[in-house]
């Protein structure tokens, strides 16, 4: 369970948000919504411990989230791309799986690629992909790295309808397996049951 208590964050002299409270249990999804600049990405960064809050606490299974907890249990996919332009898609997948200490399995990789791309030449260089394809490659991590908590910053941005449906199916499976998903998005997701946090 992730529990956020009285969380506040300030950048310089500007208070971004104040007294945020919520609890998410295994098998639940939290959708963070709000206008541009209200602090959705900042809140996600706080949860994953990339930045320290001004006040308040964030715990995972009653443990304060530090670098160790975050690296063991959390998977973060942000808005900007992390792949290396000069490497091929295959090399990129291998690189990031080794960074996440995942044993490389070709059949799982092929299935995951097929799930998102239908057909893709993995010998292409990363810079040769379109924006949507680059985004999909980032989301491949969700299928290849097994961590219980997914933190996703605007994952639906730039994706086609078919991929959005696939991604929603993936969310459903994760929740069935008692995973936790926290995501920020301007769009609504097509799941039946999820919590919403509206930032103002």
């Amino acid at each position: 369970m992730i529990e956020v208590n009285n969380l506040s964050f300030a950048r310089g002299n500007t208070l971004i948000y104040k007294n945020i409270n919520f609890k998410i249990h295994p098998g639940e999804l939290l959708l963070i919504q709000g206008a541009n600049g209200v602090g959705k990405t900042t809140l996600l960064s706080n949860i994953v411990n990339f930045i320290d809050p001004l006040e308040g606490s964030i715990t995972y299974n009653n443990l304060v989230i530090d670098n160790y907890i975050a690296s063991q249990f959390f998977l973060y996919v942000g808005e900007t791309n992390f792949a290396h332009d000069s490497l091929t898609l295959n090399q990129n997948i291998e690189y990031w799986l080794s960074i996440h200490n995942v044993k490389f399995n070709n059949s799982i990789k092929d299935k995951s690629v097929k799930y998102f791309f239908e057909e893709l030449n993995l010998d292409k260089k990363f810079y040769q992909l379109s924006y949507g394809q680059k985004k999909k490659l980032q989301l491949l991590l969700l299928m290849l790295v097994n961590k219980p908590v997914w933190i996703l910053d605007d994952p639906l941005n730039g994706l086609d309808d078919r991929t959005i449906i696939n991604l929603n199916n993936l969310f459903e499976k994760k929740l069935e397996n008692k995973g936790i998903i926290i995501l920020s998005s301007h769009q609504n997701i097509s799941l039946n049951n999820y919590k919403t946090l509206q930032l103002t």
């Binding site: 994953v48 690296s71 000069s86 490497l87 090399q91 044993k103």
Partner: protein, 219 residues
């Protein structure tokens, strides 16, 4: 974990190979600058020191440029976020990257060094000794440059200026390198130990400071 560490090293090696074109360009520029320097000294008889000092300063700049470029590319915000969530600590990733930059630069230097020595009018009997001297000192130069680069790529321009504070750390390398070249045939084994000791010192604090700067200044 160990298997994946070797995979990580292999992937970093691939990345290093992709960045070799930039190193090649830098070494070509080094040869041009050496040629201009040698031409400017053609009517004066100077010892080996002037040429070697020039070579050292150029290698120092090459290392700084190379490390800055690699760090700018490989440590943007999105990548740092993934590195922070990796079971490998950021210090280990920094160490592997630094070592790969080192191998990239030193291999190019070993290839280019006969040509550079000829251009600088340095006797080729010094080739091996100069290569050893540079191989030892470049390790420290790369690790110090990584601290400079990690501060420079921070989001805050004001903090970027603090990278100047790391520059005095290069001074002992220059002083000792020149001290060694003052001796007849560079012949004193104990002086070389300084570079190993200085590298071990850098190895102790440089990855820590670099990863700290990357974590805090990119947040």
């Amino acid at each position: 974990m160990i298997n994946n560490f070797f995979k990580l090293v292999l992937s970093e090696f691939q990345l290093m190979l992709k960045g070799s074109v930039f190193s090649f360009v830098l070494y070509c520029l080094l040869m041009i600058s050496c040629a201009i320097f040698a031409l400017s000294l053609k009517h004066q008889s100077v010892g080996i020191n002037a040429q070697l000092s020039f070579l050292y300063i150029m290698i120092f700049f090459i290392s700084l440029f190379k490390v800055e470029k690699i760090y700018g590319q490989d440590f943007n915000e999105a990548k740092i976020h993934q590195y922070l969530l990796s079971p490998f600590s950021l210090e280990i990733i920094v160490f592997v990257k630094n070592m790969m930059i080192y191998f990239n630069l030193i291999i190019f230097f070993i290839i280019f060094s006969p040509l550079i020595l000829i251009i600088l009018n340095i006797d080729l009997i010094y080739l091996l000794k100069i290569n050893i001297l540079l191989a030892l000192s470049l390790l420290s130069i790369i690790f110090i440059s990584s601290m400079t680069a990690s501060i420079t790529i921070s989001k805050s321009n004001k903090l970027s200026l603090t990278s100047i504070l790391t520059l005095p750390l290069f001074v002992p390398i220059l002083i000792f390198s020149m001290a060694i070249t003052d001796l007849i045939d560079f012949n004193t084994g104990k002086m070389y130990l300084f570079f190993i000791a200085y590298f071990l010192l850098n190895l102790a604090f440089s990855p820590l400071l670099t990863s700290f700067a990357l974590k805090k200044l990119s947040a």
